[in-house]
Symmetry: C2
DNA sequence: ACTTTTAACTAACACTGCTAGTTTCTGTTC
DNA sequence: GAACAGAAACTAGCAGTGTTAGTTAAAAGT
């Protein structure tokens, strides 16, 4: 009868903890992850987690980072043929898909890259590709940030909350323009999708216009060699 | 010596609770608001709050709604001369200002209008103004949503988190394009501001282009009366 | 004047993140 | 191979959390 001090083979590992924590978050939400419940799910007792993580936030950060790591970045490869606009578009769609797959993680992810390495890797890839495409460094930084703002903001503001599906909760006379129909949770999903697409397109159109403006200014300063 | 059952004049009111809760959030952050601490600050003991709110979340929702209520909506008045684009711009700036003034509330606010009446009032005003400006109803809904996504996402991703000001936290070789300088918390503030401005401009430019497209299509269908 | 409701209270429950201290196994070093 | 440092599990427990139940006395309603 062992008194269960240190096992022959480690029961826990960072990967295993992050894995079951992820599953727990996906299944039952962020609040369902308590150190004790997570530990129980791992067949282990509470404080053992603290041999592998400094605190609970570090675990959730790791869960969020695992989501970031699933975002496709191939469009930013030097060898990829896509131009900056399509690359940005495809990345945004892939990013959103990653968030939609794990909606409960979004609140953690939305508060910035912080210390999460995969999140920083994403920012790095976007920045590099934009600079290579001809954007000034300052603008390239801004683009990475503002795209993240829009994507995470859209993910957070939509499926991680939204309206309440209770007809009595809203008094239509308080909101003269909004019909009751707009408030139904069922409709909300389509609105989210549409708003994301419209916003993404507007964002890229607007950036393309700014890009045009920038290259025109540059051409005026250093006229091209070819006789145009 | 009264045994402090029911006082002559009510000690608590929803307004007073929301007020001190707001102050507490602003001063010490969201986590600093516990029912007991809030009650202590009000000179009252714990569970008394539950005579005025169903639960803690309802209190925080009310705090968030108070912030929403401070957003300027005058640009959406029927009598206001501003066109839809400038109105949208001015509103976005005012919205962001309200969030910057109370950064700790943003996480609550970012998860959608939910049951908060002031939040819904904002959505209603935007929707009404956009429809009046000639946007189709579906697009008007999308615009309200996507603007909110961008604004709250930007507020959340920046000052409510951001980078860690610890030089040893990041290994520059992991992020070939990002210089170490970009990661300093001090710089982060300027980046946020710039990213917001760039993004807002791009968003409005892009929407203006879509608007043009829409009215052109409409003109083609029903040609104008004047001989152009 | 009697009843109901309201708004405060105290006590307590189940749970939270986390620390301290203990035990036993593993891996390294003389 | 013995001694030792460190790792990885444990138990016990602390201070704090949101919330409910039940009590009490003043206010408001009939």
């Amino acid at each position: 009868m062992c008194r269960m001090a240190r096992p022959r083979k480690p029961l826990l590992s960072r990967e295993r903890i992050v894995g079951t924590a992820s599953a727990l978050v996906d299944a039952d939400g962020l609040d369902a992850v308590s150190t004790r419940r997570l530990a129980a799910e791992l067949g282990v007792s509470g404080p053992s987690l603290y041999n592998h993580f400094r605190n609970k936030d570090e675990i959730l950060d790791a869960v969020a980072d695992a989501v970031s790591a699933k975002v496709d970045l191939s469009m930013f490869d030097e060898s990829d043929p896509r131009d900056w606009r399509t690359a940005l578009h495809d990345w945004a769609v892939s990013y959103r898909a990653a968030l939609t797959a794990h909606p409960n993680v979004v609140p953690v992810l939305a508060r910035g890259p912080g210390r999460r390495p995969a999140g920083l890797k994403v920012a790095d890839a976007v920045f590099g590709a934009m600079v290579r495409a001809g954007w000034p460094a300052a603008q390239a930084t801004h683009i990475g940030a503002l795209m993240r703002y829009f994507i995470t903001g859209s993910a957070l503001g939509s499926f991680a909350g939204g309206f309440v599906d209770d007809e009595t909760a809203y008094d239509p006379s308080d909101y003269p323009h909004l019909g009751q129909a707009h408030l139904l949770a069922e409709r909300q999903e389509k609105i989210d999708e549409g708003a994301f697409e419209t916003g993404l397109r507007a964002l890229l159109d607007g950036l393309a216009a700014q890009y045009e403006e920038g290259t025109r200014a540059k051409r005026a300063k250093t006229p091209p060699a070819d006789g145009s």
